[in-house]
């Protein structure tokens, strides 16, 4: 008989930020989480699991949908709804949710993530090693192409689409850098600070999470305005923050010459911050953790 040794990690809170999401998809995501929580509780990995939504939508129309998921028979001890009444972005939104709770572990999760039943258990498994600071789930059906060590799972950064983080690490890093990052790269930055603090960032291919991403009709990878703008803005800020001002300037110059309206706007915002002295404090001067390669923040196994 093989004994499956799992760590016992105490209390877990799952945080997710809403912005005008479809109610039926929220309900479906909670149903998946509830099942994964049930199995995690049953296996003794956690002894209490709560879910908290922060809503950045213009109105609190989703309040009823969210609170209706808080049932007595649920494996989720509580389902909370926090209406922010302003669009804080993901990093700031998560920080606000982190301010109001004190569980030992937190899962940062996108609201359109549907966890596999064993996902929480598999994410928790790697915390048998106390040096692990982040454990990321495998997204399906489109798996992220970043490289990871097949034997250990160690990787450059973890996407907060679905990632388990010890509270201790969050406290030590004082949460996400929401002053620099609004929507994108807040997770890359957080991952690299986790590494700078001496922890490991681990990818868990056995913990699957369905992320409702689609391909265009011709199979092309298409992104919306917000992803294009905020990831462009974040690219310059991240390079600057990790002591690659040369790269930040190179990206800025490229955007300025691109003629692309969205990239020009992002370049202007970088320039404004620079002249206003609002750029972040620089880290990783020795370039130990940050990876900038082929317009990505990790070596990729393949191009999308």
């Amino acid at each position: 008989m093989v004994v499956d040794l799992l760590p016992r990690l105490g209390r877990l809170r799952v945080h997710s930020i809403l912005y005008g999401n479809e109610p039926h998809r929220i309900i479906q995501a909670v149903a998946h989480l509830e099942r994964a929580a049930h199995i995690a509780l049953q296996r003794g990995v956690f002894d209490k699991i709560e879910l908290a939504y922060g809503d950045c939508s213009p109105t609190d129309d989703l309040r009823e949908t969210v609170l209706a998921q808080d049932g007595e028979a649920s494996s989720l001890a509580a389902v909370e709804y926090h209406f922010f009444d302003e669009n804080l972005g993901s990093a700031h939104g998560h920080n606000r949710l982190l301010d109001v709770a004190s569980s030992e572990f937190v899962i940062i999760m996108n609201p359109d993530i549907m966890m596999a039943p064993n996902a929480i258990v598999e994410l928790a498994r790697v915390f048998s090693d106390q040096r692990v600071g982040m454990a990321e789930a495998k997204q399906l059906p489109i798996e992220h192409p970043k490289h990871y060590d097949p034997a250990t799972g160690d990787t450059s950064w973890a996407a907060t689409a679905c990632t388990l983080i010890p509270r201790e690490v969050i406290n030590k890093l004082e949460g996400f850098d929401h002053r620099t990052f609004f929507l994108y790269c807040d997770d890359v930055d957080f991952s690299w600070r986790v590494k700078l603090a001496g922890y490991r960032v681990v990818y868990c291919p056995a913990a699957a999470a369905f992320h409702d991403k689609r391909l265009g009709d011709g199979g092309e990878w298409s992104i919306g305005w917000a992803e294009k703008y905020y990831s462009a803005e974040a690219a310059m800020l991240l390079a600057y923050k990790y002591s690659r001002q040369d790269l930040a300037e190179e990206i800025h110059a490229y955007f300025k010459k691109s003629g692309d309206e969205v990239w020009l706007k992002a370049a202007d915002e970088y320039a404004r911050r620079k002249s206003a002295g609002e750029l972040p404090v620089q880290l990783d001067a020795a370039h130990k953790v940050a990876v900038f390669t082929n317009n990505a923040y990790a070596n990729h196994r393949f191009a999308m």
Binding site: N118, P145, P205, A208, R214, G219
Partner: protein, 625 residues
């Protein structure tokens, strides 16, 4: 000669009834009661073979007279008056007489209420467990169905469509009737006729043996059930439970409006639990949950069965209650698919392997296609991606190792599919009726390419509605764990050959638009081979556009080309001179942009048929030369 006076033969209904009767090893001296006996031409055979006493009942006096003249007992009995008939039978049999069998040959179809007659027989036979031998004509004989497609339903004096028939039986309806009448089937020996008495006029393209249409219809009929050539159902029964059905069988609900849209049949041998979990996750995360999941476990040992059951148990309640495991032992790769498709209850069925991935709109896209194309196969686009497996700790996990590649076309093209399969199985959904009603199956003989085989057999019948949306991901395993690696090249080729031969041996339906495509392909091939050089004015059109707006545009182009040609321009004075000589008014130039297809066609013909055009042929020949 009386129309119902048929002689005995071992090959006809009498012979089959006699053969079924023999299986019950009748006791000498027992009674054989024949209801609707007609001329009772099997009486002599039964008495001589088994020493039984034949008694006939009918309302047909000439038949009764014939039997009596031949020395048999025969009585007038109206089966419409059940109580009187029962009283009569009891009165003519001696006290304590043993009954060897009850029989009713080609009679039930003449009765307004055959259920009442069957219950009468049951009252006679139940106490002694007496067998009942029955025959009825088959209204679903291939000949009758084929003729109905061209609007013919030919009553005849006797036979399959006897003008006095009051009931029509298919095998299913006959089976229901007998069950409702309180009889349990124990043997069957149907009479088959390749050409029934309805095979006329034999020159009809739906009947003529070598006509492709007849071949296609007969092929479909034989695929649907084994009774296409059955002329009469001849079956033996023993008394079964009494029933209370009040009426003869009919279809009580035309469609099951409550049925789910889709049945997802997942084939697994239980070795890839981690990818099966991922497949199930893709399903539970669908935007449309109007589907059931049937996991067809193939040759599962106890350990693997438990692992699959645990996966089902892990699912959230709303999905778990729509998921079930069926186990299939034996057979090849097709066996679990066939079992799953037969267990399906949805309007559509789709096959899914235990390593397949789909996007969130997979079911939703199929369902959207159904709204406009109900009954067609539904196909969405699929991307391909290379994957491998890694081992970490004691567990295995899958890993993508390439970008998405669009290997498969975004529209179904039947002609291209005749060459090879271009549709991953989980990107196409089949109407369930193809399996439940028409008898289609994945070919159990094929160890590979069973998906392609099925698609090209059913796509010509139902047609295929395509969506460009990419909804499925086909994982190409680069770690040797796939069907390509599991079967050698010879096996693949051998299976392809079997399928090709199968579809090549039968007529095939092509969808609208195929004639133009085939023509274009044929001409292109001939051009490539240097065999033809077509003149645009010759009768063979090289690339006709058959769609209306395009055709009109093409005609406008041609008209413009003709009237602005040198040939036409230099002959203007000739036409003008002729007009003046004939005192005709000056013609108005036609308004090309308002002309219909017929107008354009007329004017082009006028030019090509004109003397001016004929006289300038040499000029055009010189220019080309």
């Amino acid at each position: 000669m009386e129309i119902y006076d048929n002689s005995f033969s071992d090959g006809n209904v009498y012979g089959h009834i006699a053969s079924l009767f023999a299986r019950f090893e009748p006791a000498e001296g027992s009674y054989f009661l024949d209801f609707g006996c007609g001329f009772g031409r099997l009486a002599e055979v039964l008495e001589s073979r088994h020493g039984v006493k034949y008694v006939g009942f009918d309302i047909n006096q000439p038949g009764l007279d014939s039997l009596r003249a031949r020395g048999f007992a025969a009585y007038y009995a109206d089966l419409g008056d059940v109580d009187a008939a029962l009283e009569l039978v009891r009165s003519v049999l001696p006290e304590g007489a043993a009954i060897a069998a009850l029989c009713t040959i080609d009679t039930l179809e003449h009765l307004p209420d055959p259920l009442a007659a069957l219950r009468l027989y049951a009252r006679l036979g139940r106490q002694q467990s007496v067998p009942l031998l029955v025959s009825v004509p088959n209204v679903a004989h291939t000949d009758i169905g084929a003729k109905l497609t061209v609007g013919r339903f030919d009553y005849t004096e006797a036979g399959l469509l006897d003008h006095t028939h009051m009931q029509y039986f298919t095998s299913d309806r006959f089976t229901s009737l007998m069950k409702d009448g309180g009889w349990h089937e124990v043997h069957r020996q149907d009479v088959s006729l390749l050409r029934s008495d309805q095979h006329f006029p034999a020159q009809l393209p739906v009947l003529a043996p070598k006509a492709p249409l007849a071949g296609l219809l007969a092929g479909l009929r034989l695929q649907a059930d084994p009774y296409g050539y059955v002329n009469q159902f001849v079956r033996a029964y023993l008394p079964g439970p009494e029933t209370s059905k009040a009426h003869v069988p009919f279809v009580e609900s035309r469609e099951n409006g409550q049925s789910r849209f889709l049945s997802v049949v997942i084939r697994t041998v239980g070795r890839r639990i981690e990818t099966l979990r991922e497949s199930l996750l893709c399903l539970s995360a669908q935007t449309s949950q109007d589907f059931e999941v049937i996991i067809a476990g193939h040759n599962l040992d106890v350990e693997r069965q438990i692992a699959v059951e645990q996966l089902i148990d892990e699912l959230q309640a709303g999905v778990r209650e729509r998921a079930r495991l069926i186990t299939v032992d034996g057979g090849g790769r097709s066996a679990p698919l066939n079992a799953g498709f037969m267990a399906a209850e949805g309007r559509y069925v789709v096959a899914f392997d235990d390593d397949d991935l789909v996007f969130g709109n997979w079911v939703e896209t199929f369902k959207g296609l159904e709204e406009g194309s109900s009954g067609q196969l539904l196909r969405a686009s699929a991307a391909a991606q290379d994957w491998d497996r890694i081992r970490r700790g004691g567990a295995t996990a899958s890993r993508a190792i390439s970008g998405m590649r669009m290997l498969y076309p975004d529209k179904f093209e039947l002609l291209a599919h005749l060459v090879e399969n271009r549709t991953p199985l989980h990107s196409i959904a089949f109407p369930r009726v193809l399996f439940s009603e028409l008898g289609y199956r994945f070919d159990p003989e094929l160890s590979t390419a069973e998906d392609w085989d099925l698609i090209i057999r059913v796509a010509p019948l139902s047609g295929v509605a395509s969506a460009k949306a990419v909804t499925a991901l086909y994982r190409l395993w680069k770690c040797g764990d796939n069907s390509t690696a599991a079967h050698d090249q010879f096996e693949w080729q051998s299976n392809y050959f079997k399928t090709l031969r199968k579809i090549n041996d039968a007529p095939i339906l092509l969808p609208p638009g195929s004639a133009a495509k085939l023509r274009r392909m044929y001409l292109s091939l001939e051009r490539l081979q240097g065999r033809v050089e077509l003149d645009p004015d010759e009768s063979v059109l090289t690339d006709p556009s058959l769609n209306d707006p395009e055709r009109i545009e093409q005609l406008r182009e041609r008209y413009h080309e003709l009237v602005s040609s040198t040939s036409w321009q230099i002959t203007i004075p000739l036409r003008e001179a002729r007009r003046i000589l004939r005192r005709q008014p000056r013609p108005r130039a036609p308004k090309v942009w308002t002309m219909s297809e017929a107008d354009l066609d007329f004017h082009i013909r006028q030019i090509l048929g004109s003397a001016s055009w004929r006289w300038t042929r040499i000029l055009r020949g010189l220019r080309r030369g």
